[in-house]
């Protein structure tokens, strides 16, 4: 059986869960803890303990700020408990660092989402090129396929990605190219 969250939260969850986990992990450098923080936050939403802003942008800001605060709370708890000073950067509190973590999370999430919609062969090749930064030669060796196959899969993947990503971009380009 498929589990679903209350209907207004389910869509938020689908849209933001992965991003928020990546973001929390950027702050906490602990994947399990990051997931835990984000899950507790969503649990709070399910209980209706917090009301969400209507406006899309404010809502996104609210989600990230809440998760950041919960992460920092975690860090403080850990510190008083264990009295250790660790690599958990206190400079996370700086706006720019939080901003960077948000942007990074969003970039990875969008890219992974798009890559996941590619056909299997293209996906593997592109994943290796983008994330493992392998050359065409290395990818060919790794997958035991010819370098020409790598090239054509990569080309196809990029063409498919372009179509998907461009849907996203439309609004921006319209904004920016208006004369």
């Amino acid at each position: 059986m498929q589990i679903a969250l209350p209907y207004d939260i389910e869509s938020l969850f689908q849209q933001y869960y992965r991003q928020l986990c990546l973001f929390a992990n950027n702050i906490l450098h602990d994947e399990a803890l990051a997931e835990d923080v984000v899950q507790s936050f969503f649990a709070g939403l399910c209980e209706g303990r917090n009301t969400l802003p209507d406006d899309e942008n404010t809502r996104r800001g609210y989600l990230f700020v809440s998760v950041r605060n919960n992460c920092l709370k975690q860090i403080r708890n850990e510190k008083t408990k264990n009295k250790y000073v660790d690599q958990l950067d206190m400079n996370m509190i700086e706006e720019q660092t939080v901003m960077d973590a948000m942007i990074q999370a969003e970039v990875i999430d969008q890219l992974m989402e798009a890559i996941h919609q590619l056909p299997q062969g293209c996906r593997q090749v592109l994943h290796m090129a983008v994330f493992d930064k392998l050359s065409n030669n290395e990818i060919a060796n790794n997958l035991s396929i010819s370098i020409n196959t790598v090239k054509s899969q990569k080309k196809r993947a990029i063409q498919l990605l372009r179509t998907r990503l461009d849907t996203h971009m439309m609004m921006l380009l319209l904004l920016l190219l208006s004369e």
Binding site: F13, C46, E47, V107, L111, L161, H168, L173, L177
Partner: protein
Amino acid sequence: MKNDQFVLVDFLVKHFGGTLSQTDKEVLQKMFNDDPSLHDQWERYTSQGLRSSDAEFWDRLDLDQARAKILHYASAKPAKRPLHIGGMRQLKIYAGLAASLAVFIGVAWFLNLRHQDSQVVPDQAYHYKNDVLPGGQKATLTLSNGKVVTLSEEQSTVKEKNGEELHISDGQLRYQPNSNPSEVANLRNTLKVPESGFYRMVLPDGTKVWINSASELSYPLAFGKSTRNVELRGEAYFEVAHEKNRPFIVSTTHGDIKVLGTAFNLTAYSNTASNVTLINGSIQLTNKNNTTKQIVPGQKVEFDGSAMRVSQANIEKETAWQHGYFYFEHDQIQDIMEQLTRWYDIKVIYQGSITRKTFGGSMSRSVSLAEALELIKRGAGLEFEIDRKTVTVKNKS
């Protein structure tokens, strides 16, 4: 928080995905000129690169497991405001009920609308009266005896006179080289693509043709000994099979295009000037005035019955439709709507005076009308209304 940094996100995604286009780069440059701090940020993000550990973490995240845990947490924690608990539960049940009712009504409405026009569907995400689905592969074929056959995507065979068989596979119509060309040379077929459709086919000589919405192509079942003649009304992209001694000639209302073997995009609707863009090879254009012009790859000729104008083409723009997306560049709203009109088979009404600014950008042709309008609306400062298949464009009030 400074939100303008978020404009970088989409560009970063494209940068890392390797799909940053020339237009994107120009836009970025423009943004950096306006706000040099964005440039520093861009440099910082791109030099950091992506961590493969993040990708692995993303891959490992299990949404169903997360849902189960969230529900578990939610029920385990004592509620902070016990007074509201009953209310909330009930609300949730009502909400659930309302949601399934909405789905039910939606389905009923959908079925009802389908009956009249399968392209008109309820708007699921925005605030429009209804939504319109994008076009797709559709066409009809008029056989030599005048009979009209609807071509579907499914594999099938259509029988012509003399036992000639036409095959449809992979969603395209294929003509085989004829065993006895002289017998079928006088038989003509016409492929018609309606508004909001497109179709691909292979002619008997192996030439591949992509036919766009509201277009028709007619051709003989076998080409003659000295030339290969077809007629086009509308837009098509040709990849002509090379034959040195038998030129391929496309006739349009405004003139003829003669080629040996090449790829080109031809737009020849009768109500506006025609244009042809050459991708590779060479073509010779003769208009109704008998003026002749030859162009090289990357060039575009605009022509009507009397005049011709050669310019440098943006090949990405001219062939975007064939790759499944819209591409706008220095286009006014009317030009953009013109393209949507053909693809969604809609009527457009302009209310008041509409901005004469020009816009650029691209988007997939698989989005619904409401999605497309939402994207355009935000950038262009316009408002849209959809009523069945009529779109009203007006300035933001």
